[in-house]
Amino acid sequence: MFEFLWQPWPWYVTGPIIGLMIPIMLFFSNKALGVSSSLRHTCAACAPGKIEFFKYDWKTQGLWNIIFVVGILLGGFLGGYIFANPDPIAISEATKTDLQALGITDFEGYVPSDIFSWSNLFTVHGIIIMVVGGFLVGFGARYAGGCTSGHAISGISNLQLASVVAVIGFFAGGLFITHVIYPLIF
C-alpha cells in the first residue's frame, strides 16, 4: 500500500504541491521559496574576502536558506536513495530516440552515466557539461537574481515582470544549448 513512496507522481500532484510550498513557507516563516541564494550565503560564510557582494551578516540573512538546502539534500536521499524508483524515467520515445542519436546508451537512472560519472569528468564534453555547466548555473542565477524556484515559481506567482523576462531567458538559453550546442559536443 506504500508503493506510491517509490513511484513517480503525476505532474498534477507534484506541481500543485510545489506551488503550495510558497504559502506554507510564507505562513510558517515569512520567507519566499528560493534555492540559489544559498550559494551566495555559502560564499559569504566561507570566503567573503574583500568582495562587497559577500560582506553582510549571512547568519541573520542566509542561515535559514543554507539549512533549507541541507533539507533538499536529505529529501534527495529519502526520495532518490531510500525510496529510489527502481524503474527508468518514463521519458517519451521521441526523446529517447533523439538522445540515442547523441550517443546516450544508459537510460536506467535519473541521469545518464554516459555523461554524469567520475570517469567522464576529464573528457571534453564532461568538462563542458559538468564544470562549465555548473559554473553557468551559479553565475547565471546570481546575475539574474534567482533560479527556477526564485524566478519561475516564486517570482511569476508574484506577477513580477523581472521574473517573466528571466524565465524567457532561461528557456531561450536552454533551447540554444539543446538544439545548437549538444549536436556539436557529442
Binding site: 513511484q7 513517480p8 505532474w11 506541481g15 500543485p16 510545489i18 506551488g19 510550498m21 510558497i22 510564507l26 510558517f28 519566499a32 540559489s36 550559494l39 551566495r40 555559502t42 568582495i51 557582494f53 541541507v70 533539507g71 533538499i72 539534500l73 529529501g75 534527495g76 526520495g79 532518490g80 536513495y81 525510496f83 524515467i89 517519451s92 526523446t95 538522445l99 537510460f107 537512472g109 535519473y110 541521469v111 557539461i129 564544470v131 562549465v132 555548473g134 559554473f135 553557468l136 548555473v137 551559479g138 553565475f139 547565471g140 542565477a141 546570481r142 546575475y143 533560479c147 511569476i156 508574484n158 513580477q160 523581472a162 523576462v165 531567458g169 532561461f170 538559453g173 540554444f176 538544439h179
Partner: protein, 138 residues
C-alpha cells in the same frame, strides 16, 4: 530549534522534486525538445497554485504564524540587462547540467556523487559573479 522548520521544508521540497522527476536530465531534455507535457504541467500548475495563494494572502492581508504581516520582496524590474543576460546564461547551465540549483542538491543527496563537481562549479560561478558584479551591466 527555530531553524528546524527550514530543514523540514527543504526535505519535503527535495522529496517532491525526486517524485516529480524534475531532477532528471532526461526530463529537462524532453522539455527543451517539446516532446512531453510533464515539465510544463509541473511548472504551470505550481505557478497557478502559487499565484492564487499570493492573491488570497494579499486580499485577506494574511498574517504569518507569529501574527506579522506576510511580506514578499518584489524583484527590481528596472534592471533588465541582468534578467536577460543572466537568464540566458542560467539557461545554458540548466540545459547542460540538466539541473537547476534545487535538483543539484537533491541529486547529490540521492547518491550521485559526481554532482559535487557541479555544486562546486556553481559555487565558483557565484563567487566570480560577486567579484565582477560592479563591472557587469545590470
Amino acid at each position: 530549534m527555530q531553524y528546524l522548520k527550514y530543514l523540514v521544508f527543504g526535505t519535503l521540497f527535495g522529496f517532491i522534486l525526486m517524485r516529480a522527476e524534475v531532477i532528471s536530465w532526461f526530463r529537462i531534455q524532453e522539455m527543451f525538445r517539446f516532446q512531453d507535457f510533464h515539465m510544463y504541467g509541473i511548472i504551470g500548475s505550481a505557478i497557478l497554485i502559487g499565484m492564487i495563494s499570493i492573491m488570497l494572502i494579499r486580499k485577506f492581508n494574511a498574517k504569518d504564524i507569529h501574527g506579522n504581516p506576510i511580506t514578499i520582496e518584489p524583484k527590481d524590474s528596472s534592471q533588465m540587462y541582468r534578467y536577460t543576460i543572466g537568464g540566458l546564461l542560467f539557461g545554458f547551465g540548466w540545459a547542460l547540467t540538466g539541473a537547476c540549483p534545487g535538483p543539484v542538491f537533491a541529486l547529490l543527496g540521492s547518491g550521485i556523487s559526481v554532482f559535487a563537481v557541479i555544486l562546486l562549479s556553481a559555487l565558483a560561478g557565484t563567487y566570480v559573479y560577486g567579484y565582477f558584479q560592479k563591472q557587469l551591466p545590470h
